[in-house]
C-alpha cells in the first residue's frame, strides 16, 4: 500500500494538530479504514493513531442520569455492560446486531460514526464515485441493486450509511462531542452526517482536524428503557449490513403513547430519524393501526432507484414491527439473536 507517516500522539491537542494536515486520517479500531486502504479507496499520507489518547476509552454516568461515552470505547464493552444495556437497551441491541464478535471487539463507537458507506463503487478506486472523488460521477446510478438509498438521495450519490448503532443513537437524541483546532463543540447525532446533495464527498459536519471525542445520551432518553427495540433485516443472521432496520422507543403512560422515537437504517446516507412519525404517535393508543400509519408516514418522501423499491414498504413494515415489539416491552434479557425478528435458540440449551 501507499507509504504513509504513522503518528501516535499522546495528547488530544497533539492529535488535532497532526490530524489537521491535508491527507491525514485518524485511526482508531481500523476495522473500516484499513480495509479501504487495502482496496486503495483510502490513500492517506499520514495516519494519526488516536488509540492511546488518554481518557477516551471509558464511559461515565452523568449526574443528571445521562451517559457520556468516550469515542474509543469498544463496541463490545459498551454493549455488554449491564447498566448500559438496561438503560439504553435498543442501543445495546443495535451494537450487538452489527458486524461480528471479532469486529465489535476491535471497533470503537467513535469510529462507528465515521464509517464509510459500503457502496461497492466507493470501495473500488477504479470506479467513478462522487463520494470518494468529487465530480467523478456515480457508478451506482442506473444499476439495479438492493442496497441503495430510498430517502435523501441525490443525483450525485445514492449510497447508504451502514451503521446500526447510529440508528439507535438518532432515536435516543444523542449528541456528538467534537474537538478540533477551534476548540470543542457538540452536534446532534442527527445533524452529524450529511445527506449527499451535490457534494457527497463531505459526509459529516466535521471540519479538518476535528475528531469525535464522545457521544452523550441525554438522561431523558433513559425514559424509553421499558419500551425499546432495534430490528434489522439482513441477508444472513450475523455479519451482514442491514437491508433496512429500525429503532423504536416508546414512553407509555396510562395506555397512551406519551412520547415515541423512530429511526431507520439502510435507507439513507445517514441514520433517518422520523420526526413526523413520532409526532403522529404522540397521544395515540399503542396499537397496530397507529404503528402502521406512523411508519408509513415516515416513508412518504421515499423514492426508489432500480431494484430497491421493495425497501420502501419493507421499511414501513419493520418500523411498525419495531414499534409493536417496543410496545410489548423490552425483553428482560438481550435476545439470543440481537436485532432479529427470529427468537433464536439459547446458545446452550
Amino acid at each position: 500500500m501507499k507509504s504513509f507517516d504513522y503518528l501516535r500522539p499522546e495528547t488530544l491537542a497533539d492529535a488535532i494538530a497532526a490530524g489537521g494536515a491535508p491527507g491525514a486520517a485518524y485511526l482508531a479500531g481500523g476495522t473500516n479504514l484499513v480495509d479501504l486502504m487495502k482496496t486503495g479507496a483510502a490513500v492517506p499520507d499520514r495516519i494519526v493513531d488516536i488509540t492511546r489518547l488518554p481518557g477516551l476509552d471509558r464511559w461515565e454516568w452523568l449526574d443528571d442520569g445521562g451517559l457520556r461515552i468516550g469515542a474509543l470505547v469498544r463496541n463490545s464493552d459498551l454493549a455488554h455492560d449491564v447498566d448500559v444495556a438496561q438503560t439504553f437497551p435498543a442501543m445495546a441491541e443495535a451494537l450487538l446486531s452489527g458486524a461480528s464478535g471479532q469486529l465489535r471487539n476491535a471497533a470503537t463507537v467513535g469510529g462507528n460514526l465515521m464509517q464509510a458507506t459500503r457502496c461497492p463503487f466507493f470501495a473500488d478506486p477504479t470506479s467513478s464515485c462522487n463520494r470518494r472523488e468529487a465530480g467523478s460521477g456515480c457508478a451506482a446510478q442506473g444499476l439495479s441493486a438492493r442496497a441503495f438509498a430510498v430517502l435523501g438521495a441525490s443525483e450525485a450519490c445514492i449510497a447508504t450509511h451502514p451503521s446500526d448503532f447510529c440508528v439507535a443513537l438518532a432515536a435516543l437524541g444523542a449528541m456528538v462531542e467534537v474537538a478540533g483546532p477551534d476548540g470543542t463543540r457538540a452536534v446532534a447525532l442527527t445533524d452529524f452526517h450529511r445527506l449527499p446533495g451535490a457534494a457527497p464527498q463531505t459526509t459529516t459536519v466535521l471540519k479538518p482536524g476535528e475528531l469525535v471525542t464522545a457521544i452523550t445520551l441525554p438522561a431523558a432518553a433513559a425514559g424509553f428503557r421499558r419500551h425499546a427495540r432495534y430490528l434489522k433485516l439482513r441477508d444472513r443472521t450475523s455479519f451482514a449490513f442491514a437491508l433496512v432496520s429500525a429503532a423504536a422507543m416508546l414512553r407509555i403512560e396510562d395506555g397512551i403513547i406519551a412520547e415515541a422515537r423512530l429511526a431507520f437504517g439502510g435507507v439513507a446516507a445517514k441514520p433517518w430519524r422520523a420526526l413526523d412519525a413520532e409526532a403522529a404517535l404522540k397521544g395515540a393508543r399503542p396499537d397496530a393501526d397507529a404503528f402502521a400509519t406512523a411508519a408509513a408516514r415516515a416513508l412518504e418522501g421515499a423514492a426508489a432507484t432500480a431494484g430497491n423499491g421493495f425497501k420502501i414498504p419493507l421499511a414501513a413494515r419493520i418500523g411498525a414491527r419495531a414499534l409493536t415489539l417496543a410496545a410489548a416491552g423490552t425483553p428482560a434479557e438481550m435476545p439470543v439473536l440481537p436485532g432479529s425478528v427470529h427468537l433464536g435458540e439459547p446458545a446452550h440449551a
Partner: protein, 751 residues
C-alpha cells in the same frame, strides 16, 4: 464426560480395531496452536514478495501501465508485464493435461475477464510490491462485456470433466405427451466463487537444479507434472510441499498462470518468491461454479409416477474457454423414469473459467431438480417424501445397472423419523409457531457418484515393530491425516499410535487426487494394499524360517493383530513383527500398494452415495426474513472409517447447502461484467448463527462391489439435496415458489 460423541444413527461398521473409531484429528493440536505450516507461512532466506496485478475490466485491452513509476518505487525488484513476460516451455495457450484450462501468463494485452493477471510486481516487502502495483495504474480500452443467460447458446464439447452434453434413454416426447400431467420448472443458480479461508499461495525456490514449491494442492503428483510441463522440467525435479490446505473444494488442483509467473520470477531473479492472492483476486483467476439456468419438464401418470424427466441446463462459461456445469446430470442419477434426457448448452460470458466447486454439477443440478420434484409432487397431490418413494430408482436410472449398494430408502425413513416428518400438512402456509412465524418443512434427495482415481502408497515395518506409511498425502481439512492412519493401522495389524504417516510432499508415492469424494476410497485402498503387501512378505519370512513358531503356515494362513502374526488355526503359534524382522536381519520391510477402481467393476454396477435431507424453516410473514431452524441429513455412503470426520464433512456440506440456498452468489454489474461483492463482507457464506441445528445420521451400508474397502465417500454429498430441501421448505412455509438462488427475502413479501 466422554470425549467422543457417538453418532446417533447406528453402530459404526468396524474393519478392525482402528477404522470405525471416531478419533480426533491427528493434526488438530498443530492447527489450533498455529504450528501447522500452510504455504504462505514459509519464508526461505532471501525471499522476495510478489503481488499480482489484476484487470479491472471484464473485456478489452490494457493500453498503458506506468511501469516506470512502479519500478522507481523503493524496494521494487522487478515488474513483469507482457513486454517482458517470462518465457514458458509451452505456448501459453497449451493445455498439458486433461484437467488443464487456458490460463493467463501475461501472453498479451488482452483482458478476457475481471481479475485476470495483467502484471506481476516483485519487491523486497509486501508493502512495496502492493504500492508499486497501485502505481502501475493500468489504463484500458474496454469493450462491452457479455453477461447473463440471454445470449446465443452454443453446443459445448463436453460437460464437467468429459461427459457428453446430452445423454438420454427412452422416448421423451411420448413420456411427456402421454403423461396424465406435466410440470415445467425453470431454476437459476448464480455464479459462486471459490473462497477457501486460505487464498491461493505459492512460495517458489529454485535450488540445486530442482524447483521447490510450497503451495496448496489437492493433487501433488498431478500438479508437479503440470508445473513441469509448463516449465520444461522433469517432473521429478519439481517438489511440491503441501501438508495442509486451508480448504480446496476443487479450486486447488489445476495449474494457474499466477503461480507460473511467481515461479518464473523466482528463476529470473535467482531468489525465492512468494505470491499470495488477495481475497478479491479469488473472484476470477482460480475457477468458480458457473451460473446455470435449468429447465426441467416432468411427466407423470395418474399415481404420480414419472413418465419422463427432461432436464436441460444452460450453463455460463468463459468466452475463451469451456467448463460446463453438468447440472442436468442430476436427472441421470436421482429418480426412476422410462424416459430421461439430460442435456446442456453453453453461453459465453466475459468471466474467468468456471471449474469444479464442491459437488460440481450435482450441487446446482439437485438444487433445481429437487424444486422440480416438489412442483410435481404438488401437482400430483402427493406428500413430497411419498412422491420420492414412488419414483425410487431401484437400479441406475440411466444405465439400468444394479447399484453396488443403495440404502436410500433407509435414509428417507430414518431421516423422516428423526425429523418428525409424519403429519406434515400437504398444503403450504399451514403451520405457524407461537411467535407467528410461518413454518415449513421440505425434503431433498442427496446423491453423489463414487469415482476412484489412481493412488499409490508404501508401507514400511521397522525393526521396533512400528511402521511408516509414505504417500504424498494432503489434508485440506477433511481429516485424511487421521483416517488414513486408521486404515493403515488395520492393514498392518498395529495400533494407530504405532503408525507414522509421512506425507505432504510430492516426491513420495503419488497420493492421487483429493477430489470427487474419492480420496478415502482410493488412497485408503492403496494404503490398505501396501500394508497387506508388507504383512504378506512378513508372513513369508516367518513361514519359511524354521526357527519361527509360524514356520510352515504359509502366508495366507496367518492373521496380523497387535503387532504379531498368529497362525489362523492355532493362535498359540504367534510371533511379534520385531522378532521376525530381527531374526531375518532386517531393519525394515516395505510393501507397496495401489488404489484404483477394478477394471471392469463399472460395467457391472452403478456406484453412488445417497442421502435424504430434511429442512425446517421459519419465515416472517410480513418481513420475509428466513431462518433455517433445523436440518436433518441421513446419508448412506458405504463403510465409515472415522465417524467424527464423516459427520464433520457431511454437516459442513449441509451448511454449504444453506449457503447455496440463501447466501452465496456473485453479483455481476451487467453494464461492466464486474463483480460487485468481491470480499467477505459482501460475498456472503453462511455463518454459525445461520445453522443452529444440523443433525447428521449415517445409515449402515455394506458394499461388496464399490471397492475392497467398501468406502464410498462423503466430501460432497452433503451439499446436494440440502439447497432444494430448504427451497421446498420455504414454499411450504409461505406458498411462494422461489426458483432463483440465493433466495432473497424480498421475494417472499406480499407487496
Amino acid at each position: 464426560m466422554p470425549d467422543v460423541t457417538p453418532l446417533p444413527a447406528a453402530t459404526p461398521i468396524r474393519m478392525g480395531s482402528n477404522a470405525g473409531q471416531p478419533r480426533t484429528r491427528a493434526d488438530g493440536l498443530l492447527k489450533v496452536t498455529g504450528r501447522a505450516t500452510y504455504a504462505a507461512d514459509n519464508h526461505p532466506a532471501g525471499m522476495a514478495q510478489a503481488v499480482l496485478v489484476t484487470a479491472a475490466i471484464a473485456r478489452g485491452r490494457v493500453t498503458a501501465m506506468n511501469v516506470e513509476a512502479a519500478r522507481a518505487h523503493p524496494g521494487v525488484v522487478e515488474v513483469y508485464t507482457p513486454a517482458n513476460r517470462p518465457e514458458l516451455a509451452l505456448e501459453p495457450d497449451a493445455k498439458p493435461s486433461f484437467f488443464s484450462k487456458l490460463t493467463e501468463t501475461l501472453q498479451d494485452d488482452t483482458v478476457r475477464y475481471e481479475g485476470q493477471p495483467i502484471a506481476l510486481v516483485v519487491a523486497e516487502t509486501l508493502e512495496a510490491a502492493t504500492e508499486a502495483a497501485r502505481l502501475l495504474a493500468p489504463q484500458y480500452a474496454a469493450e462491452t462485456a457479455r453477461v447473463g443467460f440471454d445470449l446465443a447458446p452454443y453446443a459445448p464439447e463436453s460437460v464437467g470433466f468429459g461427459f457428453p452434453i446430452e445423454m438420454s434413454k427412452g422416448d421423451i416426447a411420448a413420456g411427456l405427451s402421454e403423461a396424465a400431467s406435466t410440470t415445467e420448472t425453470v431454476v437459476e443458480t448464480p455464479p459462486q466463487y471459490h473462497n477457501a479461508m486460505e487464498t491461493h499461495a505459492i512460495v517458489a525456490e529454485w535450488k540445486d537444479g530442482k524447483l521447490y514449491l510450497d503451495t496448496p494442492t489437492q493433487a501433488p503428483g498431478m500438479s508437479a507434472a503440470g508445473f513441469a510441463a509448463w516449465l520444461g522440467l522433469d517432473p521429478a525435479d519439481v517438489v511440491i510441499r503441501s501438508p495442509f490446505l486451508g480448504g480446496g473444494f476443487g479450486s486447488k488442483a489445476a495449474v494457474v498462470g499466477a503461480f507460473l509467473l511467481a515461479i518464473q520470477a523466482a528463476k529470473l531473479l535467482d531468489r525465492p518468491v512468494k505470491l499470495a492472492l488477495a481475497r478479491h483476486q479469488m473472484f476470477g483467476h482460480v475457477f468458480h461454479r458457473g451460473a446455470t439456468r435449468q429447465t426441467i419438464k416432468l411427466g407423470m401418470d395418474a399415481e404420480g409416477r414419472l413418465t419422463a424427466i427432461d432436464h436441460h441446463t444452460t450453463a455460463v462459461t468463459a468466452a475463451f474457454e469451456e467448463f460446463i456445469e453438468g447440472a442436468s446430470g442430476a436427472a441421470r442419477t436421482t429418480y426412476a423414469a422410462p424416459a430421461i434426457r439430460a442435456s446442456h448448452d453453453g453461453v459465453r460470458n466475459d468471466v474467468g473459467v468456471p471449474g469444479a466447486m464442491r459437488a460440481p454439477g450435482e450441487a446446482s443440478g439437485s438444487a433445481a431438480l429437487e424444486i422440480a420434484a416438489d412442483v410435481a409432487a404438488e401437482a400430483a397431490g402427493l406428500d413430497p417424501l411419498e412422491f420420492r418413494l414412488r419414483n425410487y430408482a431401484e437400479t441406475d436410472p440411466m444405465s439400468g445397472l444394479p447399484y453396488s449398494s443403495k440404502a436410500l430408502r433407509e435414509c428417507y425413513a430414518e431421516g423422516a423419523r428423526e425429523f418428525g416428518w409424519a403429519g406434515r400438512p400437504l398444503a403450504p402456509r399451514q403451520m405457524t409457531d407461537d411467535a407467528g412465524m410461518l413454518v415449513g418443512w421440505g425434503v431433498g434427495t442427496a446423491t453423489f457418484p463414487c469415482p476412484m482415481f489412481g493412488a499409490e502408497a508404501r508401507a514400511t515395518l521397522r525393526a521396533d515393530g512400528t511402521a511408516v506409511i509414505e504417500t504424498a498425502l494432503i489434508d485440506m481439512g477433511q481429516g485424511s491425516w487421521t483416517a488414513m492412519a486408521q486404515i493403515a493401522a488395520d492393514s498392518l495389524g498395529l495400533d494407530v499410535e504405532q503408525v507414522e504417516i509421512r506425507g505432504g510432499v510430492s516426491d513420495l508415492p503419488d497420493s492421487g487426487v483429493a477430489g470427487g469424494s474419492g480420496y478415502t476410497a482410493t488412497l485408503g485402498l492403496a494404503i490398505d494394499n501396501a500394508g497387506g503387501d508388507t504383512i504378506r512378505q512378513l508372513a513369508e519370512i516367518a513361514s519359511s524360517d524354521p526357527d519361527s513358531p509360524l514356520h510352515g503356515t504359509g502366508n495366507t494362513r496367518v492373521v496380523a493383530r497387535g503387532g504379531r502374526l498368529y497362525a489362523q488355526d492355532d493362535e498359540s503359534r504367534s510371533e511379534s513383527y520385531a522378532d521376525i524382522l530381527a531374526r531375518a536381519g532386517r531393519e525394515t520391510l516395505s510393501g507397496e500398494g495401489k488404489g484404483a477402481r477394478g477394471e471392469n467393476d463399472a460395467n457391472d454396477h452403478s456406484f453412488q452415495s445417497h442421502g435424504a435431507v430434511f429442512a425446517e424453516v421459519k419465515v416472517d410473514p410480513d418481513l420475509g426474513q428466513v431462518r433455517v431452524t433445523r436440518l436433518v441429513g441421513a446419508f448412506a455412503a458405504g463403510r465409515i472409517i472415522n465417524p467424527r470426520m464423516v459427520e464433520s464433512q457431511l454437516s459442513g456440506g449441509m451448511i454449504w447447502g444453506i449457503s447455496f440456498a440463501l447466501h452465496e452468489g456473485a453479483e455481476m454489474d451487467p453494464r461492466t461484467g464486474r463483480i460487485l461483492n468481491r470480499d467477505f463482507g459482501e460475498y456472503h457464506v453462511s455463518v454459525n448463527s445461520d445453522a443452529p441445528s444440523v443433525k447428521v445420521l449415517t445409515i449402515p451400508e455394506e458394499d461388496a462391489f464399490v471397492n475392497p474397502l467398501g468406502v464410498k465417500g462423503v466430501g460432497e454429498i452433503g451439499v446436494t439435496g440440502t439447497a432444494g430441501a430448504i427451497a421446498n421448505a420455504i414454499w411450504h412455509a409461505t406458498g411462494k415458489r422461489v426458483t432463483s438462488y440465493p433466495i432473497r427475502l424480498e421475494e417472499l413479501l406480499d407487496l
